[in-house]
């Protein structure tokens, strides 16, 4: 099946981004397709290439980039939510793209399932 994900919180601060990534990995392992991951609200902070978590911790942003690289997963950051929070094109990590909220509605239309991860 085609599954869309919506992520409303930034990395590290809330578990939402971790849960969503674990869900995406498990879905792919079961042969499903992640149609799109849409980052909204503080979720836009998942897309910055500037994070430097402690050495002994997971690297949430890089994990997303790897997902895009290995599975072609479409990682979309909301442009309006990004502007409000200072997430700009030049700081995007690999695999992410900035686009409009229409991409979220489209994910709802085109995916068989939409799962929301937030606070």
């Amino acid at each position: 099946m085609n599954i869309g994900l919506l992520i409303n919180e930034g990395p590290y601060s809330h578990q939402a981004a971790d849960s969503a990534w674990q869900f995406a990995k498990a879905a792919l392992a079961r042969g499903h397709r992640i149609q799109r991951v849409f980052f909204y609200n503080d979720g836009v902070h998942n897309a910055t290439k500037l994070t430097e978590p402690p050495q002994d911790d997971r690297h949430i942003v890089n994990r997303w980039s790897r997902l895009a690289e290995e599975h072609g997963t479409d990682l979309v950051v909301c442009v309006a939510a990004g502007l409000r929070r200072g997430l700009v094109e030049e700081n995007l990590a690999p695999g992410f793209r900035i686009s409009g909220l229409g991409q979220l509605v489209e994910a709802g239309i085109e995916s068989d399932r939409l799962v929301v991860f937030g606070d």
Binding site: N8, N41, G100, L101, G102, L104
Partner: protein, 135 residues
């Protein structure tokens, strides 16, 4: 069928998809941005010709209160936007009676016309949806 005809048919098929979208609002306004940014998704969704409805329950009913004056907190007052929803053909606004009652709010205090439903009816409405977006 030719490739072109197939493409056209597929596209027409895709365009014809009308899903039932429900936006579930359970957070109070102003303390967090969820109500405001949730409303922005609703406005965009109107352009997609889907069957859109909004549910207000728990603290979400506070979003619809009349008389919100945000000047003194220096924050944008987005509550008039709920009145503009009708112009976007977003007309299904469901508000849960139990949530209003637990907060001492009457329907007359709300800034738009809504359908007040019981928790049971709200649960039924949720079950009829194809997509539920909450924040």
């Amino acid at each position: 069928m030719t490739q072109v005809a197939e493409d056209i048919e597929r596209e027409a098929g895709a365009e014809a998809v009308v899903k039932k979208f429900m936006f579930v609002n359970r957070k109070a306004p102003h303390g967090t941005i969820y109500a405001l940014e949730g409303l922005e998704v609703v406005l965009i969704s109107a352009a997609f010709d889907q069957d859109v409805s909004l549910a207000f329950l728990d603290d979400g009913v506070y979003q619809l209160l009349k008389g919100q004056e945000t000047k003194a907190i220096g924050v944008k007052n987005f509550s008039p936007t709920y009145r503009a929803l009708e112009g976007y053909d977003v007309e299904k606004l469901y508000v849960e009676r139990e949530s209003l009652e637990a907060r001492g709010i009457s329907e007359q205090q709300l800034l738009v016309a809504v359908q007040v439903v019981s928790a049971g009816e709200m649960a039924e409405l949720m079950e009829q949806q194809d997509v539920i977006i909450s924040s």
